[in-house]
């Protein structure tokens, strides 16, 4: 089992997202995250899919995606230089004065930005790799057990210009 990334160019049409996600669910392929947005050409959408699978399943996934009429191009980002980021919001509630100092300290070290605050709750925004976000989440969960709310954006990726 290995972590993989795929970049997909698809027709920007009704039902295409359902077609792609249906392909994964119908064939029991698991997805870690899927993001989609329109490209510079408004008739084309671009998806970044992250998943964990063995080699054989991954080959099959790429072939199944490629043969879908709605899919224009499939690019395997797993082993090529890419820039990969995920947006993450974390709301931490019921903060004491001591907690707040701790949050600021953590934010500074981990590159998070405090974007909202109401006296007891803080909202952090982070843009890191999926992996780094996982580590941050683990840390915050430990530090502020049962007091955090997470919103993960899913990975977006683009090929590196300079390898």
């Amino acid at each position: 089992m290995k972590k993989r990334w795929l970049c997909l160019f698809v027709e920007n049409e009704i039902g295409v997202l359902a077609r792609i996600s249906g392909l994964f669910s119908g064939k029991s392929y698991s997805v870690d995250s899927l993001t989609v947005g329109v490209t510079e050409d408004e008739t084309i959408s671009r998806m970044t899919i992250s998943l964990t699978s063995d080699d054989k399943t991954f080959e099959q996934i790429k072939k199944q995606l490629s043969r879908s009429v709605e899919v224009i191009r499939v690019i395997d980002y797993t082993d090529i230089p890419i820039h990969l980021k995920e947006i993450l919001f974390v709301r931490i509630s019921g903060l004491t004065e001591k907690d707040k100092t701790e949050v600021f300290r953590i934010s500074q070290i981990l590159g998070a930005e405090v974007i909202d605050y109401n006296g007891s709750d803080m909202l952090l925004e982070m843009i890191h790799t999926e992996n780094k976000n996982n580590n941050i989440i683990a840390l915050l969960k430990k530090q502020f057990a049962n007091r955090i709310e997470l919103v993960r954006g899913g990975s977006v990726a683009v090929e590196a210009i300079t390898a």
Binding site: V10, A18, K63, V69
Partner: protein
């Protein structure tokens, strides 16, 4: 000039050279039907149920090589197509299915007879689309026909909202279209072909494994020549049967869990398995880790996704079967493999497929079909009738079989035969069905009668859903649950032995035939088999049902028990 959506629909059908339209009306397609009024070059056929309709279009497509076209209404009309869409798509049959839809402003409102048929069929067809504007209608239809009929052929669903059918717009039907995400493979990789031939030439024990792809690509002639030129024995899947004449000396038999001993042994012992147009379905491989264990596997398939999915392939070639076989034929050389061929012949001689039993047996019936019909299309239903047909039918370029191989859809045989006869009025069309499957689309008898189609329907009646009953007998201690077709409220729950008290005919198929205005005859004595078929052949206008009462617990043999390797077959039934 501006024309309505319904008018461009009819124009599109003509441009696509559609001569037969399988259509069932309803509220959301009434405008399309209206536009078809008086169109003499399109034969609008009205089956009696949408499932029968789509199987008929499927039988028409498989037997003519053209694209089958369906038109049904929204809601239940559309959902009734579902099984037939999956059936056709699974076997790579090209269909375009038009479904009516509620007007665009009502979509999503739970309107009367509204379903999301595109959502429902997305995973069982090649492409499904709702037309969202009158402007895109013509192009979408052109796209549908192009996608259905190219590459790995399949089913395209086009959902047509009623307001778009009525709206005026351009009369132009595009000739050429480009789909940027769809580029069917049209070339054959020369390097891979050479590699495959080098491997074949060095082989001592080679086998061709021929799947349905060869029949779909109409590469039968080339395949036969390739086998003859190389001298390599041919094994088929049930979908590939007939690609090389069954009587040919190089033909070994069908592979798989009900395959012949010789075919299964040939594949288990070969050193090169040269496979063309098969996806190595679980029905043919048996225990996957033991399948053709010592062989180098060459695989030609039009679908890249079929390669190395079920078994690991050494030399993959993504190509259309006909194109690939043609190139192979040019470059292939004769092989010196007499010893291997003799070994296979010996297996064939020593372990023939045979059904035991006295009286009216499936084997005798099907052999009578082989003797009586030289130019025919034979459709099967699904279950024992299908397996016996695939075992005993002798096929060649003039005697073809249509069967639901992938999905295994009961109720396929009769409607598929109707489609086949409509597409091939000069050929004899025979259905081999069971008493179970026949009742799944029996309403299509009316279609056969009204369109004056003299098809011959052979019902192998054992009063059971025989294939499941056979499994219950062999692997579930004869616990016959839900398989006896004569089981009544008053029967003991654990009954597994029919008695004199069992009702004789449920239903009485002879009376059913008569009720529809068809001919009906029952055969209970083996000496009447040939005559019954001969009499039916004389009918030029009406269909004939011949009900053969066969032994109740007749089994399909040999069989590879679930989980076993192909070499590990049960050859004979103990009962």
């Amino acid at each position: 000039m501006q024309i309505t959506g319904a008018e461009i629909f009819v124009k599109a059908l003509k441009e696509e050279k559609v001569d037969t339209l399988f259509a069932y009306p309803g509220g959301q397609v009434i405008d399309l039907f209206n536009a078809l009024y008086g169109q003499h070059d399109i034969n609008v056929v009205l089956p009696r149920h949408e499932q029968g309709l789509v199987h008929a279009a499927d039988g028409y497509a498989r037997s003519t090589g053209k694209i089958g076209v369906c038109l049904v209404t929204s809601g239940p009309g559309a959902t009734n197509l579902v099984t037939g869409i999956a059936t056709a798509n699974y076997d790579s049959v090209p269909l375009v299915c038009f479904t009516g839809q509620v007007p665009t402003h009502l979509i999503g409102n739970d309107a009367f007879q509204e379903v999301d048929i595109v959502g429902i069929t997305r995973s069982i067809c090649k492409y499904a689309v709702t037309v969202h504007s009158r402007e895109s209608l013509a192009e979408t239809i052109r796209k549908a026909f192009y996608i259905a009929g190219t590459g790995k052929k399949g089913v395209v669903v086009v959902d047509l909202p009623k307001d778009i059918q009525r709206e005026y717009g351009s009369e132009i039907y595009p000739k050429e279209i480009k789909i940027r995400g769809y580029k069917p493979n049209t070339s054959v990789h020369a390097g891979q072909i050479n590699k495959a031939l080098d491997t074949l030439n060095q082989s001592r024990k080679p086998v061709f494994l021929v799947g349905g792809g060869v029949n779909i690509a109409h590469a039968e002639k080339e395949m036969k020549l390739l086998a003859e030129k190389t001298g390599v024995p041919v094994v088929t899947t049930i979908m590939g049967k007939g690609a090389v004449p069954s009587s040919h000396e190089l033909y070994v038999g069908n592979l798989g869990i009900h395959g012949s001993y010789a075919a299964n042994s040939a594949v288990s012992n070969c050193d090169v398995l040269f496979s063309i147009g098969t996806r190595f379905n679980d029905r043919i491989t048996g225990k996957i880790s033991e399948f053709a264990k010592d062989a180098t596997i060459i695989h030609i398939d039009i679908d890249a996704a079929s390669i190395s999915r079920n078994i690991a392939v050494d030399i993959p070639i993504v190509a259309d079967a006909k194109k690939a076989v043609k190139i192979l034929l040019e470059k292939a050389e004769p092989l010196q493999i007499t010893k291997w061929k003799d070994e296979i012949l010996k297996w064939k001689r020593e372990y023939p497929i045979a059904v035991k039993g006295k009286g009216v047996t499936p084997q005798k019936i099907i052999e009578a079909v082989n003797a009586a019909f030289t130019d025919a299309i034979i459709t099967t239903d699904v279950g024992q009738n299908q397996l016996w047909a695939t075992q005993f039918l002798s096929l060649d370029e003039n005697r073809k079989m249509l069967t639901s191989g992938g999905l295994g859809t009961m109720g396929y045989g009769l409607p598929a035969a109707i489609g086949a006869k409509l597409g091939n009025p000069d050929k004899d069309v025979v259905v081999i069905s069971g008493d179970g499957g026949m009742q799944m689309n029996i309403q299509e008898m009316a279609t056969a009668v009204t369109y004056e189609l003299p098809i011959i329907i052979l019902i192998l009646n054992n009063g059971y859903l025989g294939n499941v009953r056979q499994w219950q007998e062999m692997f579930y201690e004869r616990r016959y649950v839900g398989t006896c077709m004569r089981y009544r409220k008053s029967c003991p729950a654990d009954c597994n032995l029919p008695t004199e008290e069992c009702p004789k005919y449920i239903p009485d198929f002879v009376k059913i035939a008569e009720g529809y205005g068809a001919k009906g005859v029952r055969v209970t004595d083996e000496k009447d088999i040939v005559k019954a078929i001969k009499d039916a052949q004389q009918e030029k206008k009406v269909p004939t049902i011949i009900e053969f009462i066969i032994e109740r617990e007749c089994n399909v043999m040999p069989i590879v028990p679930p989980g076993n390797t192909l070499g590990d077959m049960i050859m004979e039934s103990e009962v």
